[in-house]
């Protein structure tokens, strides 16, 4: 009789109930340790690059703002910068400031969303409630400026469609001041919390070498000690006029990525205040009539990392090729480096740490495989107890005895 060896596979996805996004992770397990990970994507493939070739240059921003609801300011901006690269045109200064303000507001609401979800994924719902409560006024501000809480549709080739009205600036500054206090409080509370230290430090480490090999971007790279940031390295909009710092942390674990995002939120608040105070007078758009033949690249530091758009024109009114690279496309494959060897309970937050936000553990399937280690019930129970004891020791909790309960 042919002997088959079984290995347990934990299926995460294809649809996760916490997030309205689809991705499928198959974790191969040895007890509680993840020994391999396989990813399947594209359950949400909409053929946007092909659709873009059928639209006119001025219609495409509305299409690409729907690539992602959260990054709905970054994608259109990267696209119009690519087209402006072809035309060789520079938008008016006020437009650059308006773009900066909207993109930084987007960064704040995206990072707050992540902090909340990260808390939720590790079962710390207080963080979730706080972060999402303070995120709400940011969306209100975006609605006030652009008319929409998401999908702002505010950039076009040559500038912006809508201006920030001077009358609402004092109110915006007041709201931003209030937000700053709340974000500072939340940052302190999160970074000083011993529970979060135990759950996030040393977990899901992505080393600097792996980060380079997988070509990761954004907070995922900056959390691994690589201080790349398009806003600083290839300045666009008004970033080179503003006073701000690139935040990076050397550790590479989930905690480092949380620190990067929280401190970046404070930097974003600082930038918005400065930009509102310095907002230049003048028009917000110039007219661009024809797109000459040629090719251009545009990139934007979206909340999750570098958004890259490549556009080629043949002189007609439609792009003949439009390539979109969102940051998760390079960040997600790095799970192979950060998840293998981790405990299953830590993989939940490691998969969320690059901010595509996935959790796990609904279904357990057993398939044929080549892993010749198998554990019986007693062994699994012992491993579970050993892990509990390890965590208790780490946080200095008193040892519990069965008779005390």
């Amino acid at each position: 009789m042919k002997k088959t060896v079984q290995k347990p596979i934990l299926a995460v996805g294809p649809f996760h109930p916490l997030q309205e996004e689809m991705e499928f992770f198959q974790l191969t397990l040895d007890g509680e340790i993840v020994t391999d990970i396989d990813m399947r994507i594209s359950y949400n493939h909409r053929g946007i690059e092909k659709i873009s070739e059928t639209l006119q240059f001025d219609q495409v921003p509305f299409l690409v703002s729907r690539v992602c609801g959260i990054c709905s300011a970054s994608h259109p901006l990267a696209y119009v910068q690519a087209v402006e690269d072809i035309v060789g045109v520079q938008p008016p200064e006020r437009a650059l400031y308006v773009r900066t303000i909207i993109n930084e507001l987007e960064r704040i609401h995206s990072h707050m969303l992540w902090v909340g979800l990260a808390g939720h994924f590790i079962g710390y719902d207080t963080v979730f409630m706080w972060a999402w409560k303070y995120r709400e006024p940011v969306l209100d501000l975006l609605e006030e400026i652009t008319g929409n809480r998401n999908n702002y549709g505010n950039v076009k080739v040559g500038g912006c469609r809508e201006d920030i009205q001077d009358e609402i600036i004092p109110k915006m500054l007041k709201d931003i001041d209030l937000l700053e206090q709340k974000v500072e409080m939340l940052t302190k509370a999160v970074l000083d919390d011993p529970v979060l230290h135990v759950r996030l430090k040393g977990v899901g480490i992505l080393s600097k070498e792996d980060a380079i090999a997988y070509a990761v971007a954004g907070p995922t790279a900056r959390g691994s000690g690589i201080d790349i940031d398009v806003r600083h390295d290839d300045p666009y909009a008004a970033y080179s006029d503003l006073d701000w710092n690139v935040i990076s942390q050397p550790e590479g674990d989930v905690f480092a990525k949380a620190v990067v995002r929280l401190l970046e939120t404070l930097e974003a608040v600082k930038m918005i205040k400065e930009a509102l105070n310095k907002l230049p007078k003048g028009p917000v758009a110039i007219e661009v009539k024809e797109i000459p033949p040629g090719e251009g690249c545009g990139r934007v530091e979206a909340p999750r990392g570098e958004n890259f758009h490549y556009v080629r024109s043949d002189g007609g009114n439609r792009p003949i090729r439009h390539k979109i690279r969102a940051p998760s496309y390079v960040n997600v494959p790095s799970f192979r480096a950060s998840c293998i060897g981790q405990h299953i309970a830590d993989v939940t937050i490691t998969l969320a740490a690059v901010d595509p936000c996935y959790s796990c553990t609904e279904r357990l399937a057993v398939v044929d495989g080549h892993n010749n280690v198998s554990h019986d019930y007693e062994t699994l129970l012992r491993m579970s107890r050993e892990k509990t004891a390890r965590i208790q020791k780490e946080i200095g909790a008193p040892e519990l005895k069965l008779e005390d309960l």
């Binding site: 594209s42 690269d85 790349i228 251009g296 690249c297």
Partner: protein
């Protein structure tokens, strides 16, 4: 690496290129034939330590183009390697995934959408197209209707 040094180092692969074009201060396009793309990209990634951004496949009229975009984060310069694949019947190019794991997905995607074979790719499974998508239909080729 500063811009001047970058340009000097690029001359080391000059014999593999058919053209160097600089559109603006921070956009450089290097053209080469498909057989030299592996050597040029490896030089950019390993010797010049540039960051790999992404690759773009394009169906040009007489050939396929693969554009490898690299970023020099010290100057904000994007260096794009354009590789021309002349054989439209059986398009094929050497995979860069063996030395650059970050390119695994995009090569699988281009394989799906353009039908270009990546030689020595460790895992050329479908990435983007659905399981029931017919074999041999490559949606980003020009002959596929919009």
């Amino acid at each position: 690496m500063q811009q001047e040094e970058l340009k000097n180092r690029l001359s080391e692969v000059k014999d593999k290129l058919v053209g160097i074009e600089q559109t603006t201060d921070d956009r450089i396009y290097l053209s080469c034939e498909a057989k030299n793309a592996y050597g040029v990209t490896r030089f950019l990634f390993e010797d010049l330590a540039l960051r790999f951004v992404i690759a773009t496949g394009i169906d040009s009229d007489d050939c396929f183009e693969i554009l490898y975009h690299f970023s020099n984060d010290e100057t904000g310069c994007i260096i794009t390697v354009k590789a021309f694949i002349r054989n439209r019947e059986k398009p094929s190019i050497e995979s860069i995934t063996p030395f650059l794991p970050g390119a695994e997905w995009i090569e699988r995607e281009i394989h799906d959408l353009f039908g270009i074979n990546f030689e020595n790719h460790p895992n050329l499974r479908r990435l983007i197209l659905a399981d029931n998508w017919p074999e041999g239909v490559y949606p980003l080729r020009k002959e596929v209707k919009k």
